[in-house]
Symmetry: C2
């Protein structure tokens, strides 16, 4: 990915990555992003689900959503994604940190008008949330496709920031008898809970591994 010309100079430049593999792996693991935009120099942001497919990310929303109607105009947006891997516990509060993998990208929405691409985007979004589910579900109707807006964003101006490893305690702190290390953070999908309408319906194969 190219370096955006207006990318904020970072004090942690050593943590910044522009390679496709770093960026894609974070985007493919994270289920949610935060999209920010400005109206009259006032910032707004909203968390939403998204999916990467090839070199773009896709989001969806109701055609009536205020947020969708603002950003579908093609105004500049900033999208951030963060995965948190561990709390980094140092011997001093000052050296505490977080192991994270984040992506920031700057783009403008492209509204997907092509019905076939739009349907594909809904399929990609659904398959990301629940892999293997699209063909099992009641098919999406043309009316549902029309009621939903799909927007694509280029990854041309994306970068990743990644912190890994142990605390960076000050040299003079390293001998202190104070415990330091990592507290890993884990996010898991738990056992599915059936809706009252589904108590007697067998859990489909794509969910039974959970």
């Amino acid at each position: 990915m190219s370096t955006p010309s207006y990318l904020i100079p970072s004090r942690a430049a050593k943590r910044t990555h522009y390679d496709q593999e770093s960026i894609y792996s974070i985007l493919d693991e994270a289920l949610f992003c935060t999209i920010s935009y400005s109206v009259e120099n006032r910032p707004f942001s909203i968390p939403t689900s998204f999916v990467r497919y090839e070199d773009k990310i896709y989001i969806h929303g109701s055609v009536g959503s205020h947020f969708i109607r603002e950003i579908e105009k093609g105004i500049p947006v900033c999208i951030t994604v963060m995965l948190t891997d561990a709390l980094v516990v140092a011997k001093s509060a000052f050296s505490h940190s977080v192991n994270y993998r984040s992506v920031i990208l700057f783009a403008q929405a492209e509204k997907i008008e092509d019905i076939s691409l739009k349907s594909d985007a809904f399929k990609w979004l659904t398959e990301k949330i629940v892999p293997g589910s699209w063909d099992y579900l009641r098919p999406m109707t043309q009316k549902e496709v029309r009621k939903t807006t799909a927007l694509a964003f280029s990854l041309d101006e994306a970068s990743a920031k990644i912190r890994t490893g142990m605390p960076n305690d000050e040299e003079e702190d390293k001998q202190l008898p104070i415990w330091s290390g990592l507290i890993p953070l884990e996010t898991n999908r738990a056992k599915p809970v059936a809706d009252p309408s589904s108590q007697t319906i067998p859990l489909p194969e794509h969910l039974s591994g959970l």
Copy 2:
């Protein structure tokens, strides 16, 4: 909390809450927020840790951080926090949703100049990340306090959005033999992993319960 005059009209107004209890409980559970701001009508956003104390939230950052230096000017910011409780799996892709608890707030940074309040803010931040740890750590030095900026944000213009419960399938879909329900999402702190410098140091009591 009062309703911000410029709050975006929401299509999901029934999910919106302005009561202190809803807002505080989300802010106190979430470790990270995303802060958005605008420069020349171009949006920027950054994930960071935060803590609520009484009726404000506090963040910190290096005095040299570009992001901190922009928002400490007191420009409008939008801060979002999201906790995701479950994937809501419906019988149709269209009715899929997410059970989440989010907070959005609009504010301007107040830079904390009072050294005692600033030290308190670092204590609150540290205690939120690792409860019970502040008095165990090597004390923060005056130099470290000087090298770090603490910013406070009012919660006067905060609101929460919460979705709970099962999928809202269309009436005509409810009889379909397709499984629907929830996939709970769980975030856990795992067993601490010691830094090489701490292999022989006993895990302190505030961490041994993990």
